[in-house]
């Protein structure tokens, strides 16, 4: 990887540390939808399938931990929506503002606090934590950025925090030998 000292635009610098895209989901947490994740991963953990185990250990049903972001992901389409509906809007904003058409996610951190429960209404906010200088990797030339997402339930309780590291870039060579390409 090589570095360049190209300056970060002031409009991007001004966004670092500032909560953006604060929103509340327009649907409540739905156990049957969470079971799709359990089915997709053949996860037989009885706290998610056996109500007596859930009552005993978690004071009632809870959602699989890894579904944390699920409850804030937009519908593919809904009335009044314009254009593609995407999760992690800050990531797509950065791609557009920095003119970087491609991107990969390289790192994901999930921290789990109070469990998410059926009927919860989840809110979140996205915070841009950092943007690197210009880097050249085997994927291309662009910038790394770190975005944190905090999730709360309708009572204001923190249910989890996610952190994503993305790399937005212009292609040069093999485009997808690392990370999870998003576009």
């Amino acid at each position: 990887m090589t570095d360049s000292a190209a300056e970060l635009p002031a409009e991007i610098v001004s966004l670092i540390g500032v909560p953006q895209h604060s929103a509340t989901a327009d649907f409540t947490v739905e156990p049957a939808y969470a079971h799709n994740t359990l089915a997709a991963t053949e996860n037989a953990n009885p706290i998610y399938w056996d109500s007596s185990v859930a009552d005993d250990l978690t004071s009632g049903p809870t959602m699989p931990l890894a579904t944390l972001s699920l409850w804030m992901r937009p519908h593919y389409w809904q009335p009044g929506a314009v254009g593609e509906q995407v999760a992690l809007q800050v990531h797509f904003d950065l791609k557009a503002r920095l003119g970087l058409p491609e991107a990969v996610m390289s790192d994901n951190t999930l921290i789990f606090h109070d469990p998410v429960r059926p009927g919860d209404l989840i809110s979140h906010q996205q915070v841009l934590r950092s943007v690197s200088g210009v880097k050249t990797t085997k994927l291309g030339t662009g910038r790394f950025w770190v975005i944190d997402v905090e999730y709360h339930n309708q009572h204001g309780d923190l249910v989890g925090v996610e952190s994503y590291t993305g790399f937005g870039y212009q292609r040069s060579g093999d485009p997808a030998s690392s990370g999870e390409a998003d576009q």
């Binding site: 089915a39 009885p46 890894a66 789990f112 390409a181």
Partner: protein, 156 residues
């Protein structure tokens, strides 16, 4: 049965989990996580736009596979505090993915909750596709329940 803190030591290894990835594995996981991006269901987009050989597992679904692998080991009383993973390469249909892990640290926090730190590798065809570090709360005995912890008594 649940794995207890006292039954685990640094250096312990977890049983491997192997799974044959199919297009259904990828699409089911993507839609289950409400991830509509086309590289997780559209072969032409993945191959022609992204330049990879097929559709591939998305990030939230990988997190869900790690959760399943960890709690297969802990049992229902095990409670994951955090997971951090880095994706080095993609997982495609036709891959036989293998999860393997070892215990790298055992610690107890100021609330007396015992934690195991796991170093997990998701490999396919000899490639380490994703590496993950997880911090997992384990019960001190078969009756203890980390899920009962709230507020200041839960430090993930």
């Amino acid at each position: 049965m649940s794995t207890t803190f006292e039954s685990v030591s640094v250096g312990d290894t977890l049983s491997e989990l192997g799974y044959d990835v199919t297009p259904t594995t990828v699409v089911l996981g993507a839609l289950a996580s409400r991830d509509w991006r086309p590289m997780h269901h559209d072969f032409k987009f993945a191959t022609e736009r992204n330049g990879v050989r097929d559709i591939f597992l998305n990030t939230p679904n990988q997190a869900a596979w790690f959760e399943r692998y960890i709690t297969d080991w802990t049992g229902p009383r095990g409670r994951i505090g955090r997971m951090k993973f880095r994706m080095h390469d993609s997982v495609f249909p036709g891959d036989h993915m293998v999860f393997a892990a070892s215990v790298t640290e055992m610690s107890t926090d100021e609330t007396t909750q015992g934690w195991a730190t796991l170093d997990i590798r998701l490999s396919a065809g000899g490639r380490v596709c994703t590496s993950c570090t997880a911090r997992v709360a384990l019960p001190s005995d078969p009756e203890d329940n980390p899920w009962a912890r709230r507020g200041d008594r839960w430090k993930p």
